[in-house]
């Protein structure tokens, strides 16, 4: 009797959602099997990578991360264009660092104008990431949503504490929300239910399970994402059948192991290579756990991941 490879029985499918508008809009989701299990099911849309752009010059980035963007870090529009033109970014993630009430505390109107400028200047989908300060994010995203009506931005993090206000703005101006929960499958599910109750249509929801880099608890994120996919695909858990977005770059590049220069600790080796590899390896782990969109920083790391995605998705 011939040996037959046992196959997982899938009963669910991840929802397909469209991000952005126009020719460069992307579709993510649609999986009918575990990540890259092309021998068991479909993965109709490959995972996408969004490149980070900050709305103010980043102060604490290590040299390796700043180098590819020298000359544009004080201009979000130029930065975003560079990512697209020079590094082939298929999505942009604008991090609204300047709105942090504990930092520059830039006003909602001003922040929204910046978002609008970037959104108008590019044609790829735009993710706008706030500060996770509920009051401030509500204020900012209300303005952003209104000003950028029709752009189908991807806005977040939308948490339990501010899901109503931001969710309502997203419904009114048709943007996608990033449902963000602290590494817990049940909380993720609950927020999706709440957003559904609020009237946010399924095709406007993407999940952020909260991730961290290698050495900083990535196994927890991995395990939660893995369980989300198991519930979604094999247990017909409709409220978890959403694509997953992972905001990984800033988690990796803020760690001591990435920031410490070689001169200070020679046995850590070349700082640039170290940062790039840590980002790429962390991103790869998350892809294997089920990420549909990765927010990344270094062009070299992105290149590595693109190659991996291509290899893994070639039948």
């Amino acid at each position: 009797m011939a040996f037959e490879i046992p196959k997982t029985v899938y009963t669910g499918k991840i929802k397909e959602i469209k991000l952005g508008q126009g020719d460069k809009a992307v579709i993510v989701g649609g999986e009918t099997a575990y990540p890259f299990y092309l021998f068991e099911g479909e993965m109709p849309h490959p995972p996408r990578i969004a490149m980070e752009v900050y709305d103010c010059p980043p102060e604490e980035w290590p040299e390796a991360a700043l180098e590819p963007f020298s000359g544009v870090t004080d201009d979000p529009v130029a930065w975003a264009k560079k990512c697209i033109d020079d590094y082939g970014a298929e999505m942009i993630c604008l991090q609204l660092l300047s709105t942090d009430p504990n930092g520059l505390d830039r006003g909602a109107d001003e922040a929204a104008q910046v978002v609008k400028k970037v959104a108008d200047a590019i044609d790829v989908p735009l993710i706008v990431w706030g500060t996770a300060n509920h009051d401030k994010d509500v204020e900012v995203f209300r303005r952003v949503a209104e000003l950028c009506h029709g752009k189908n931005l991807i806005i977040g993090p939308v948490e339990e504490g501010d899901h109503k206000q931001i969710g309502a703005a997203a419904i009114a101006y048709q943007h996608t929300v990033i449902a963000s929960t602290p590494i817990d499958i049940n909380l993720a599910k609950q927020l999706n239910i709440l957003l559904g109750n609020l009237g946010v249509p399924d095709e406007l929801i993407i999940m952020d399970p909260t991730v961290s880099g290698i050495g900083y608890g990535i196994e927890y994120a991995y395990s939660v994402m893995e369980r989300m996919r198991m519930a979604a695909l094999t247990q017909q858990d409709e409220k978890l059948q959403f694509p997953i977005i992972c905001n990984i770059a800033k988690e990796v590049w803020k760690t001591r192991e990435v920031k410490i220069p070689e001169t200070e600790d020679p046995k850590m080796g070349d700082a640039k290579k170290r940062g790039i590899l840590l980002e790429a390896m962390s991103a790869m782990c998350l892809l294997l756990a089920g990420a549909d969109v990765l927010i990344m920083r270094h062009p070299e790391a992105i290149k590595l991941i693109r190659e991996m995605i291509t290899e893994l998705t070639t039948k």
């Binding site: 049940n186 609950q190 239910i193």
Partner: protein, 656 residues
């Protein structure tokens, strides 16, 4: 009998109830409605100030005191405030829906009867009295007094194999002669091992002069962490003569068992707690005797059911190791204890029995409840839940039983709730919300002015707020509603159940987001416990053939609403049975039947305890249950369906 002709009788007809009642002319219309069983909402209690009892007078005449709650337009239409109207002629009255009090408010009395589910037991109390007339000693028959007594008992009642307490021997000579050789003896048996061949050995514990068989009483107690309940039982007639309840005197030393155990670690702490509960027991005994006019000397036995900690503290046994892993109680079966040696004010011969415990957190109260409910007698797959500060669950039937305890916290007893109180007069128990204007309809225990919220009230309130979408499924308030009742208070958002002038306290009674959170945690612990336990024994879901709910407040839970918040599994209502205070029930039944006393011992041995505190699955289930009703909507199909229907019909509440 002649009727007094002072006042003319008139007939009042109520619609849509379609009931009639004859009342005296001049009778208050609200009173007439109440007498007819028509329930009209009157939140101000008939003072005319709330305007909720408006009815339409279709035919006939009433005399009404006008208040500003009634508009000119309404008055013209024939609408009157029932509480301000007196009946003048035959009437036909229509009670509009907004004035109607939901039926649920009224079912309280009917539900109060606790059900005895244990069947097939014989009435053979462990405590018995035997009257003998003995031949006085002579020179020819000068055998000892004790031998004479035992011989008499053997001849008259075939009683043999007795063990004799020394206290009996001590007063034997005097009592025999005092009673002129006519005496009544009291015997007591303990449970025997559930193994054939074990011979029961009655203990001779008392002797009284004369025939005292008529006066034969015992006491049954439930020692709860929060409250202590006692019953005085007539062992001749098999009934409850008196019943009383009081707060456990230990309450001022901590609300839950853990803080009590911690208190015992202080110097003199254990003794103080022991004395506190004994003093509560003594107060209850005094109250029971006063109620029933029974004399203390005729009380011969004490049957006590309590959780492991309460039992150990009562017996003066160090409870420290209950709290420390691996959580060991001192004993599962405590031998009978002389009650007066513990400080309990009863006769010296009285023994105190405690129920056997299964584990540190599954105590004699659960064994008692299970025996009282007869779970061990049937093949039916049963879920037994004792809902209280320490939630305990048992799954099983006559063949096997698995049990677990899940610390639910004091929310079900009103603890940790801003305006929480134990179920007592004035506690808000029933709650309905008018979906069109979000105004509440309250029902309180005893119909008194509201004083606070009790556990069952809390469940009803949260379920009601959820269905009216005042709160979301995560228990958070929707702040954008057209009502003054949702507002920001010191603990975040809150809903005003009763305004200050309507309450006994003179302050607004509110339910806060924190309260809802506490209830959600409590219910999540209970439900997750059931889920984890049923999975541990290989059952798929919560598909029980019968669900027995014990707990003092249990009998007043509205099943549908408890399912709505996800406390109880989503099963057809007819599968649920309330037994009220199961622990007290079991203590009573075992006082009546030695068969059941044996069963208690057997049940304690057949229960397998599952420790949830170390169980990862339980934690996962717990977090999943921290949602209304549950993160897994498939586990609550009927609730999810209803919530979806309500959600798709939001225009319901748009017009104020």
């Amino acid at each position: 009998m002649r009727k007094t002709a002072a006042k003319r009788k008139v007939n009042v007809h109520f619609d849509p109830d379609n009931v009639d009642i004859a009342v005296e002319q001049g009778e208050n219309l609200l009173q007439a409605a109440i007498a007819a069983g028509v329930r009209i909402h009157a939140s101000c209690g008939g003072a005319g100030t709330c305007g909720t009892c408006k009815v339409l007078i279709e035919e006939g005449e009433v005399e009404t005191t006008r208040t500003k709650r009634l508009s000119e337009e309404e008055y013209e239409q024939g609408i009157r405030q029932a509480c301000q109207s007196r009946v003048l002629t035959d009437l036909s009255v229509y009670v509009p829906v907004e004035s109607r009090l939901e039926r649920a408010v009224l079912t309280r009395e009917e539900k109060k009867v606790s059900q005895v589910l244990a069947t097939g037991w014989r009435f053979t109390p462990p405590l018995s009295k035997f009257y003998v007339e003995l031949p006085p000693p002579t020179l020819e028959d000068n055998t000892s007094d004790l031998s004479r007594l035992l011989r008499g008992l053997r001849q008259r009642y075939h009683l043999s194999n007795l063990s004799v307490d020394f206290s009996v021997v001590k007063k034997l000579a005097k009592t025999l002669r005092e009673g002129d050789w006519r005496v009544t003896v009291t015997t007591l048996v303990t449970a025997v091992k559930p193994r054939a061949g074990d011979r029961r050995r009655p203990r001779l514990i008392n002797i009284e002069p004369g025939d005292t068989r008529e006066k034969h009483y015992s006491l049954a107690f439930d020692i709860g962490t929060t409250t202590v309940c006692g019953q005085l039982l007539d062992l001749n007639r098999g009934n409850v003569v008196a019943e009383s309840i009081a707060y456990n005197g230990q309450i001022s030393y901590g609300q839950d068992v853990i803080t009590r155990i911690a208190y015992c670690q202080r110097p003199g702490g254990l003794k103080r707690l022991q004395q506190a509960v004994v003093s509560t027991i003594n107060d209850i005994i005094a109250e029971l005797l006063a109620q029933s006019q029974v004399e203390l000397e005729h009380v011969g036995h004490l049957m006590v059911a309590g959780n492991t900690t309460m039992t150990q503290i009562l017996l003066g046994l160090e409870p420290k190791y209950i709290r420390l892993a691996p959580y060991t109680p001192v004993a599962n079966f405590f031998p009978p204890v002389n009650a007066s040696s513990l400080g309990i004010k009863v006769n010296e011969h009285v023994y105190l029995f405690t129920f056997p415990a299964v584990a540190s957190y599954v105590g004699g109260d659960i064994v008692s409840g299970v025996v009282g409910a007869g779970v061990h007698q049937r093949k039916t797959l049963t879920l037994f839940m004792d809902i209280g500060t320490n939630g305990e669950i048992v799954i099983g039937n006559s063949d096997w039983m698995a049990t677990a305890s899940c610390s639910a916290g004091p929310a079900f007893e009103g603890g940790g709730i801003k305006h929480g109180i134990v179920a007592s007069e004035g506690a808000i128990e029933e709650f309905n919300i008018n979906p069109s204007n979000l105004e509440p309809e309250l029902g309180t225990i005893g119909g008194a002015k509201p004083k606070g919220i009790c556990g069952s009230g809390l469940i009803n309130i949260v379920a009601g707020l959820l269905e009216a979408r005042v709160i979301a499924q995560n228990g958070k308030f929707n702040p954008d509603l057209p009502t003054k009742r949702v507002r920001r208070g010191s603990d975040g958002y809150e809903y005003v159940l009763a305004w200050a002038p309507e309450t006994q306290t003179g302050k607004d009674i509110v339910i806060t987001e924190v309260d809802i959170d506490n209830l959600m945690r409590a219910k999540a612990a209970m439900y997750a416990g059931c889920q984890t336990l049923s999975k541990s024994v290989g059952l798929g879901g919560c598909e029980f053939e019968q669900v027995i709910i014990a707990g003092a407040f249990g009998s007043h839970i509205n099943i549908e609403r408890a399912i709505t918040i996800g406390l109880l599994p989503d099963l057809p209502p007819e599968r649920f049975v309330f037994i009220g205070n199961g622990s007290l029930l079991g203590a009573r039944l075992t006082s009546f039947s030695t068969d059941l006393l044996d069963d208690a011992r057997r049940v304690a041995q057949m229960m397998t305890n599952f420790e949830l505190s170390e169980n990862v699955e339980f934690m996962n289930n717990y977090v999943a249950a921290l949602f209304l009703p549950h993160t897994d909507a498939n586990a609550f199909p009927t609730v999810s369906k209803r919530l979806a229907e309500l959600a798709s019909n939001p225009e319901q509440r748009i017009n104020v």
